[in-house]
Amino acid sequence: MRHVISVSVENKAGVLARVAGLFSARGYNIDSLTVNETEQHNVSIITIVVKGDDKIIEQVKKQLNKLIDVIKITDHADFKSIQRELVLIKVNIAPSKRAEVFQLAQMFKAEIVDMSQKSMTLSVDSDPETIDNLIELLRPYGIKELIRSGRISMLKG
């Protein structure tokens, strides 16, 4: 089961290393991790997507709470949340397939940020599941390069 854990931390050097170290030391599997500033200048948010059963996730949250620099932890599986991710995808565009790729790009509201003879780079920001979907649809055309930004998540309400 995938959990999205949002950890607010003191914005200090070494805090990310501490959180990441905790995960690697205890063998928890991180799917993605992003760290960003917030509206408070000395607080950062680390958004972690981690796989594991309920018991493991419970331990992960308790161990994170022990860290002095961790202020608050919210598990976004528990509540309703808005999740977003950005992806840049460089796709092959053989002349015969160009129109199809354009259509897909339109359907997914992708922005075309680069174009060359042989490839086109799309930029999409959406919820992670939609992005998963687009990547699968583009795969048959040949994905030359792909980079995902990692998920950020915010509670509704």
Binding site: G14, G21, I71
Partner: protein, 559 residues
């Protein structure tokens, strides 16, 4: 008035009421040693940084106050790593200062540079790299607060040399406010009430007390609780002394080398009351078979320890001292006369034994004699392995902070320097290090520190010519292939002691054991090394092999 960073460190330590500091100098800490020259507190120069930190650890365990360490950068700092991990595993409050190269040189592979904050991140409760001299005083206050509160632990402060040499106005903060750190001390009254109801209706309850009781200074409250409820009690290695081992309700230590009756009591129990203990694998063995019938009440200050290994029915997060006090007020004693009789019979039928009908000196006999001749009032430090287990089994501890041993990490070489720290913490007590011929050599260089400060520490070496505990495993599980566990090549410990200016006595005959211990106890101004030549292949029993359960207990030598 402006002070240097080095002066600020000394002033801050003075404000914290520090009485002793342990350490070793080096290049980037010369400015700090410059300020230390006239400090109001004592500085103990070790002969290896590992000796310094184990001494600070022993000091903290014996006194309850945080141990303070100072070492230089690079190799000085990395020499502390084992000691930091040792303190971290047993939750001992330490504040460790390491020097660091100048801020401008950090990351440049500078001379004697090591990323000690990176290296110790997983083994410290918290650590700091000072980037701004105006943060120094506040950081020191925070470090002491974090080290000594909640679940205690080691905190490291890395101080670049340009900060030590810099200057600013000194202001020591009144209070500490850390929004990410708010330990819970009071147990939830609802949970406490539920726990007491469960206790009152139990038929086969057992109290399982660990190191947390001693860290919380809750020994008195534990005794009151056990007295009111009449429930039998077992202790972990680190819990020894939290409850008197001489009391009829004591079942002794549980776990891999615990007593038969402690392990069986826990196995047969219907209610396990865990106080300040963490269900370590040395205690539980195979978790799936650990407490087949019992409900669990778990009192601990660390929420991450609760339900980590074992499902807990009634978790109570809080300080042992507070929770036990509240519980004793409302708890009613359960009706367990039959259970007590059953356990008393088990104690009679399966006591701790060893064969003393030999001419050879048995290591267990040495421990028993030490217990008898010190009237059970000494502070016993141990090394690791067979010596540690026999010291836990054959000496009965009645007061907290009288058994000092590296439990979680199991660090050989811990005992002797820890004894130095313990003796400095308790100058009126007799301090004895129970050692093996292997462990004593790991920090032997600290012997001169004991001589220098006239510390009458008795080092009782249970010299069997082997790395005993490993040899035992090789005998029982590895077809007796004693691969590299023979310590036949060892120094003459008597001569080694004398070279350091200590007293050295070699004991080869059983009748000399008592004489030697009495002689040692009569000396009070220098350390005494007693080299007991004991039975070479004696094993520690009972033994619950690793990953097994109580029914797999090996009680004695099989043919």
């Amino acid at each position: 008035m402006k002070l240097s960073g080095a002066d600020i460190i000394i002033e801050s330590l003075t404000k914290e009421g520090i009485e002793v500091m342990f350490g070793y100098p080096g290049g980037v800490v010369i400015p700090i040693f410059h300020s230390l020259y006239n400090a109001p507190f004592k500085f103990i120069l070790a002969r290896h940084e590992q000796g310094a930190i184990h001494a600070a650890d022993g000091y903290a365990r014996a006194s309850g106050k945080p141990g303070v360490v100072l070492a230089t950068s690079g190799p000085g700092a990395t020499n502390l790593v084992t000691g930091i991990a040792t303190a971290n595993m047993d939750s001992i409050p330490l504040v460790i200062f390491t020097g660091q190269v100048s801020r401008s040189m950090i990351g440049n592979d500078a001379f004697q540079e090591a990323d000690i904050t990176g290296i110790t991140r997983p083994i410290t409760k918290h650590n700091y790299l000072i980037q701004d001299i105006d943060e120094l005083a506040k950081t020191i206050k925070e470090a002491f607060y974090i080290a000594s509160t909640g679940r205690p632990g080691p905190v490291l402060i890395d101080v670049p040399v340009d900060i030590s040499k810099g200057e600013t106005t000194f202001h020591y903060p009144e209070k500490v406010q850390i929004r990410g750190y708010k330990p819970v001390y009071e147990g939830h009254p609802g949970q406490i009430k539920k726990a007491c109801e469960l206790i009152a209706s139990s038929k086969n309850p057992v109290v399982y007390a660990g190191g947390g009781v001693i860290l919380s200074n809750a020994s008195k409250e534990l005794r009151a609780f056990v007295k009111k409820t009449g429930i039998p009690i077992t202790m972990t290695l680190l819990g020894l002394g939290s409850f008197p081992g001489t009391d009829p309700l004591s079942l002794g230590m549980l776990g891999m080398h615990g007593t038969y009756y402690a392990n069986h009591a826990v196995n047969e129990s219907d209610l396990l009351i865990a106080v300040g203990a963490r269900f370590d694998d040395r205690v539980t063995g195979d978790i799936s078979k650990f407490i087949p019938k019992a409900k669990v009440i778990h009192i601990d200050i660390d929420p991450a320890s609760v339900s980590k290994n074992v499902e807990v029915d009634i978790p109570i997060v809080g300080d042992c001292k507070n929770v036990l006090t509240e519980m004793t007020k409302i708890v009613k004693a359960p009706d367990i006369a039959e259970w007590i009789d059953h356990l008393n019979k088990m104690k009679e039928d399966y006591p701790l034994t060893y064969n003393n009908n030999t001419d050879a000196i048995k290591p267990q006999y040495v421990i028993e004699k030490i217990y008898e001749l010190t009237k059970g009032k000494a502070i016993i430090c141990t090394e690791v392995g067979q010596n540690q287990m026999w010291a836990a089994q054959f000496y009965k501890y009645t007061e907290p902070r009288t058994f000092i041993s590296s439990g979680g990490l199991g660090t050989m070489g811990f005992g002797f320097p820890a004894a130095i720290g313990a003796q400095l913490a308790k100058p009126d007590k007799r301090v004895i290090d129970i050692a093996g011929d292997g462990s004593i050599q790991m920090n032997i260089q600290e012997m001169i520190v004991a001589v220098e400060h006239k510390l009458p520490i008795i080092v009782a070496i249970l010299n069997n010519g082997y790395l005993g505990m490993v040899r035992q495993w090789q005998q029982l599980f590895f077809e007796k292939r004693y691969s590299h566990t023979s310590l036949a090549f060892s120094p003459d410990f008597k001569k080694l002691a004398e070279a350091y200016g200590a007293v050295g006595i070699t004991i080869e005959k059983k009748e000399d054991v008592e004489i030697a211990i009495k002689k040692a106890l009569s000396i009070n101004d220098k350390p005494i090394v007693l080299d007991f030549h004991v039975e070479k292949e004696e094993n520690v029993y009972p033994m619950v092999p690793s990953g097994k359960s109580v029914k797999d207990t090996i009680m004695r030598e099989l043919a």
